[in-house]
Amino acid sequence: MLTEISFRVKIFFLILLLIVTFLVAPLIGNGMSDIFNFFSTEIGQRIFFELRLPRVVFAFLVGFSLAMVGVAFQSLLQNELATPYTLGVASGGALGAVTAIKSSLVFTIFGISTVTLFAVAGSVATIFIIYSIAKGSARISPLTLILTGVTVSLLFSSLILFIHYLADFTETYRMIRWLMGGLQVSGWSSSIITFPFVLLSFLYLFHQAFALNIINSGEELALSKGVDVLRLQKRVFFICSVLVGIIVAFAGPIGFIGLIIPHLIRLLIGADHRKLLIAASIFGGVFLIWCDTLARTVITPAELPVGIITAILGGPFFIWLLIKQKRSL
């Protein structure tokens, strides 16, 4: 069984995989058939350092964040189906983005598109809605939060459909393209902006890893073991939601990673969050890099939206794993 190999060995291979990915993935793509000649030209160097490498780094940050938040939400909401988007933050972001596209307010400020800014605003608004519903109560039931999130998502989705209906063909295409998710960044600005949020969220969650283990058993047992449940819930929701809002604003709602990577890694290394957070986050990043590499190359010179790739690759693979393991998650 894979679970009997020690955690250190698995982490070693994971980090090896990470290094190889960072070395190889940026080299794959158009015009890279002759690597040595490629680097000797100025245009080649610029493609590598200004397009490919930033994109690989950004893909890593996005995959890392989605898998990490998936792990945290699944434990906190005590629900296997929880994803980073369960609480409606992504829908809020999407509504913001779609509104920006429809209102023709598309331009860039300091290198950031207004679509991104509107998406951030939508996410923040959603966080406040969820927060004000949960605020004030002495306890937050996971089920209430999930229902609130799902309801908010449905409401926003219908508003998105409404805006779609009002939009012309060009706008509709841009909206759908945004909703499919993509990592077409140029330069480092997206990575530089998201990195502090990713780092702080990871440090906080990792520090709370032990409490995340316990809260998985429900509120009462967690309280009796000394976990300040309400404070943990509020902080994790807030920190993770802000991160998800920013990620979605830059990359669109890329699906599946936040759902399957936590389950996959849990099957491989167990449910202890001290190990799970590290392994799932790194693997989420690596997985998204490869999905994006495929998205860039599979119908070259055009590109596929990476969200399609994550779902097409992730879905069947996960079903195969479930059948193979034949054990409860």
Binding site: N79, F210, I214, S217, L221, S224, K225, D228, R266
Partner: protein, 256 residues
């Protein structure tokens, strides 16, 4: 050790506890019995700060409950809910280790002492043979032993158990009570168990608290509490009461 004075509690308008007074000393083994809805579970949840009361009606080690932080409280009181399940698969060792949470700072901060303590508790509860097994795959009796080990790893002075034997067969019921008895004697632990099994309570506990309708009906030695009229009034059924000649403890048989 534990002092409950004039405790009242309600869920909204629904009055659940009415003027409860209990005082328990170290090393007592107390059973709380009573009909469904009598407020038994509510009472022990209040003692572990899971449900909140506003005033200083509960004192633990001469400190008011609401002045004790969650972590400090977890070092004094351990609690076993009626049902516990984990959404994901934890190993037996990981579940027992959760009991050390109120003592650790940071994530990889376990000391040798922590591991020494959980090893002792696993041996004591006889679960050391399957520490790497998944908690969710264990039988009801094994799960209960693992949870008790995890509670003991908190090194509490009081342990509260909410119907610990309700899902167990008679062999495991007796086994759990024998373990509790041993803990009472060897570790001078105060044990409060909410139970519907009056006969086990009468055999193992020196003190029984009978609750009905949010009030304490009777509090004392089994022979003081287990009286025909009291039980009939509280539970609304007739009972036959006798002494088991082998254990010399009281037992009751309800009949209709």
């Amino acid at each position: 050790m534990l002092e409950i004075k004039n405790l009242n509690f309600s869920y909204g308008k629904n009055h659940v506890l009415d003027n409860i007074n209990i005082s328990a000393t170290s090393g007592e083994f107390i059973a709380i019995i009573g009909p469904n809805g009598a407020g038994k579970s509510t009472l022990i949840k209040i003692v572990d700060g899971i449900l909140h009361t506003r005033s200083h009606m509960v004192m633990l080690e001469e400190r008011p409950l609401d002045k004790i932080s969650r972590r400090d409280l977890a070092r004094i009181v351990a609690y076993l809910p009626q049902e516990s399940s984990f959404t994901f698969n934890y190993t037996v060792r990981e579940v027992v280790l959760m009991g050390r949470f109120p003592y650790i700072n940071g994530v990889w901060a376990y000391t040798k002492e922590d591991f020494q303590i959980i090893r002792e508790m696993m041996v004591l509860m006889e679960i050391d043979g399957f520490v790497e097994r998944s908690f969710n795959e264990l039988s009801g009796g094994e799960k209960q032993r693992v949870l008790i080990a995890s509670a003991l790893a908190q090194q509490p002075k009081i342990i509260l158990l909410d119907e610990p034997t309700s899902a167990l067969d008679i062999h495991h019921q007796i086994a759990i009570y024998q373990i509790l008895k041993k803990l009472q004697k060897e570790q001078n632990l105060t044990i409060i168990v909410v139970t519907h099994d009056i006969n086990l309570a009468a055999q193992f506990c020196e003190r029984i608290i009978l609750m009905g309708d949010g009030k304490i009906i009777s509090d004392g030695r089994p022979e003081e509490v287990l009286q025909f009229q009291l039980l009939q009034d509280t539970f609304g059924v007739k009972v036959y009461i006798d002494i088991n000649p082998l254990t010399k403890s009281l037992y009751i048989l309800p009949y209709g």
